[in-house]
């Protein structure tokens, strides 16, 4: 019985926080957010030097071969920094999908460069109807002599503009009832990317059209029947971890502010209303962090508990983040409503995290269904 981080994980966490405080402070984050691309090649290069993109990539493909809990620890720090860029989507989700379902050739072609920071993957999942169930997809992979031909339009594809490849969910099988996952190079003929404007400026999204895109047999991910679910699960954990870090950050910002800002001749932190708001964030946050760690651990180690644990963590961490961000903005008073203050970047990110990979009510219903009630 050991519910704690290993020494290595503690080190990862500390070094990540230290690194991001130096290389991606709020000012840098704002600079990247203001740039059209929404990521900093320089920061991406430094991250690659630290081996972050390969964290969960098997060693034989140039990664560190670590697990989802390690990734969650790292992503908590990225959320703390509101780090912009494709990292979460590529290194936690696309990398997981490839590692879990890619053949040797596919891994060599995409996973190795991804781990080295030379390629980034993006997920093309939901469509205009915004559903996560395979039956919601119109995108289909029609069997053709040389593999499959993919037709369809995917919405809200994160960092599609700068992606090297897409992991595309498409209907396959007889009657198109199963969800197949295909790896499609961004420069494949028939792929067209149209940027969307995101509310959360630390993220970029696009519409990706697949117009008769040829997908050779080896481009389809293989593996367990629940691979699609697992990939969504990796996404949910990643967003949950980002949310825990973000909630911690808005709390820290509000507490710091409350210690220095004076009203009625006292620091506002001496008023009970401010204290209680901060205390409520802590009371929400600390158990949610433990739950998120548990979900990330279960994802790798406890297959029978994983799906339910992930749904619990996604629902809770996002609820907690949104509520914390609302409270923290309010604790700042007027200054928290200005563009010049940094907190709105986290405030908007909390909103976005809630939507991505299924909102809390969706995951609560999953918890109920998987819990047998």
């Amino acid at each position: 019985m050991d519910f704690g981080l290993t020494e290595e994980q503690e080190q990862l966490r500390e070094s990540a926080r230290h690194f991001l405080a130096g290389e991606c402070p709020a000012a840098k984050m704002r600079e990247i957010a203001a740039d059209a691309a929404g990521f900093s090649p320089e920061l991406e290069r430094k991250i690659a030097q630290l081996g972050w993109p390969g964290l969960i990539v098997p060693e034989q493909f140039g990664g560190a071969g670590l697990g989802m809990l390690d990734m969650a620890v790292l992503l908590e720090e990225c959320g703390y920094a509101a780090m912009p860029g494709p990292f979460l989507f590529s290194a936690a989700i696309a990398a997981y999908a490839l590692a879990a379902g890619g053949g040797e050739e596919l891994k060599t072609r995409w996973l190795r460069p991804l781990a080295a920071g030379a390629a980034a993957g993006a997920l093309a999942m939901v469509e205009a109807n915004d559903g996560l169930a395979p039956s919601d997809f119109a995108t289909a992979a029609r069997t053709a002599p040389s593999g499959a031909v993919i037709n369809g339009v995917k919405m809200f594809v994160p960092y599609a503009q700068s992606a090297s490849f897409f992991v595309v969910a498409a209907r396959t099988g007889a009657g198109g009832r199963e969800a197949g996952l295909f790896v499609v190079p961004a420069d494949a003929p028939g792929v067209k990317v149209r940027p969307l404007k995101a509310l959360d400026l630390t993220r970029r999204f696009a519409i990706v059209e697949f117009d008769g895109v040829l997908a050779p047999p080896e481009s389809q991910l293989q593996g367990a029947a629940d691979l699609y679910e697992r990939v969504l699960g990796a996404g949910a954990i990643a967003i949950a971890a980002d949310s825990i870090g973000g909630a911690q950050r808005v709390l820290d910002m509000a507490v710091e502010y409350a210690k220095v800002r004076e009203q009625f001749g006292k620091p506002i932190g001496s008023f009970q209303a401010i204290k209680h708001a901060a205390a409520e964030i802590v009371a929400d946050l600390e158990p949610a962090r433990a739950l998120t760690w548990y979900a990330a651990y279960a994802f790798d180690a406890l297959p029978r508990e994983a799906a339910r644990a992930v749904a619990m963590a996604k629902a809770r961490a996002c609820d907690v983040y949104s509520r914390a961000a609302d409270k923290a903005v309010l604790m700042h008073g007027g200054i928290g409503f200005t563009w010049d203050h940094d907190i709105h970047f986290w405030f908007k990110r909390s909103r976005m995290n809630e939507s991505l990979f299924g909102a809390p009510p969706f995951h609560r219903e999953r918890v109920a269904a998987l819990g047998g009630y």
């Binding site: 915004d130 919405m155 509310l199 999204f205 209303a273 409503f337 939507s355």
Partner: protein, 396 residues
């Protein structure tokens, strides 16, 4: 109790509605009712709109006739306001003057001040902004530190104001300044009127988290203001301002906007498919919608009750203290529900072509939080309800 309007009132409503339908300009103005950037041409259009409203007899509804107002009874005032919101009539650019300075001058100003300012407020010839908040005094307004020293016939003003809506195009500011630094904090404040073109004033825009301008910082560096611009007595500005603050609370209290927000949310839910059916048919979201509608309706009747009190000339009592708190939080909850209803579409900025409901909600979600904060955050509102309403002892 009788929730029917008299035939006369119904006729008045039709008359207002008809006038609005025929007169609301075709320009992009409609629905501009939130603080936003206003370029010169928009500004001119808005002034023209206000003048048209004035000529038609629908401006300054509560002002006495003697000062160019309509002296309408509270029912007609509320009918006219409802119709303006319902038809999404353009905002009145001079609202600050009509709702705040005007009533203050009518109550506290001398004859010269009334003659000098009131007509120009109505004619949209002078646009006003409010100089209350300062960087060091948000919740604790009375701790303000902008100094006005008397030199002969003038005040010399030094200091800074913040959160000043419209200051970048306003002609005049009504401003609280400290005129006696040694007096207890509420007793050393005066209420003065400042020409925004005076030398020494610098206006610096503040950008909101929405990305829009609308608020400003205003810096005063030895700004000279004639002594005749003092409203009420020297060092009694806190009392003068409190009357105006009450008007501000009432401005925030209208529920027509809240009802429109709910209707828009309901339409959004009906039009949003989730797992193969409209979100409005999802039992869980229906609970949420119904709870919001119930709170909206409760607020509607709560305001009608106050309207009745006002008709009867009675003090609305405790009830009136909750309007700002309940109203702003309800609006933010409505916008938050809409954001959740949109699923991944909530990811989109308001100016993306795929944004649902023409990008209305992301902005509204943020702006309504701004309203929870502005004019006394919910924390402050609760203090006020407890201390002034329930007579619980002050903490300070």
């Amino acid at each position: 109790m009788d929730l029917n309007y008299t035939p006369d009132e119904e006729a008045f409503r039709r008359q207002v509605r008809n006038w609005l339908d025929e007169n609301i300009p075709d320009s992009g103005l409609r629905g501009v009712d939130r603080n936003a950037d206003r370029d010169k041409s928009t500004l001119e259009k808005m002034k023209a709109w206000q003048r048209r409203v004035h000529q038609a007899g629908y401006l300054a509804l509560s002002w006495p006739k003697a000062y160019g107002g309509q002296a309408m009874d509270p029912v007609r005032q509320s009918i006219a306001n409802e119709e303006m919101v319902r038809t999404r009539a353009p905002a009145l650019i001079g609202a600050m003057g009509i709702s705040m300075v005007g009533p203050t001058l009518i109550a506290w100003g001398d004859d010269e001040q009334k003659a000098r300012y009131l007509p120009k407020i109505l004619a949209a010839e002078e646009i006003w902004c409010q100089g209350y908040s300062e960087p060091g005094s948000g919740s604790d307004l009375a701790s303000l530190r902008t100094r006005a020293e008397i030199e002969g016939d003038e005040f010399v003003v030094n200091g800074q104001k913040v959160w000043t809506s419209n200051a970048h195009f306003a002609d005049m500011m009504f401003c609280l300044v400290r005129t006696d630094p040694d007096a207890p904090k509420h007793r050393g404040i005066s209420y003065i009127l400042i020409d925004m073109k005076s030398p020494g004033i610098t206006v610096k825009p503040l950008v909101q988290m929405t990305g829009d301008r609308g608020f400003n910082e205003v810096f005063f560096d030895n700004v000279h203001v004639p002594r005749r611009n003092l409203v009420g007595k020297l060092n009694e500005g806190w009392m003068v301002a409190n009357a105006t603050l009450f008007h501000e609370r009432n401005m925030l209290g209208s529920t027509t906007t809240t009802q429109m927000l709910f209707n828009r949310l309901k339409a959004l839910a009906a039009g949003t498919m989730r797992s193969g059916r409209p979100l409005s048919e999802d039992p869980v979201f229906r609970q949420r919608l119904a709870d919001l509608e119930i709170r909206v309706e409760a607020m509607k009747y709560h305001m009608l009750r106050q309207l009745t009190d006002s008709i009867r000339g009675r003090n609305p009592g405790l009830g009136a203290w909750v309007n700002k708190l309940v109203g702003t939080e309800l609006n933010h909850d409505l916008a938050t529900a809409a954001m959740e209803a949109m699923g991944d579409y909530a990811l989109l900025a308001r100016d993306d072509g795929h944004a649902l409901d023409r990008g209305f909600w992301p902005y509204e979600w943020m702006f309504t939080l701004g309203l929870v904060i502005g004019g006394g955050t919910s924390h402050i509102q609760k203090n006020i309800i407890a201390e002034r309403g329930l007579k619980l002892p002050k903490s300070r």
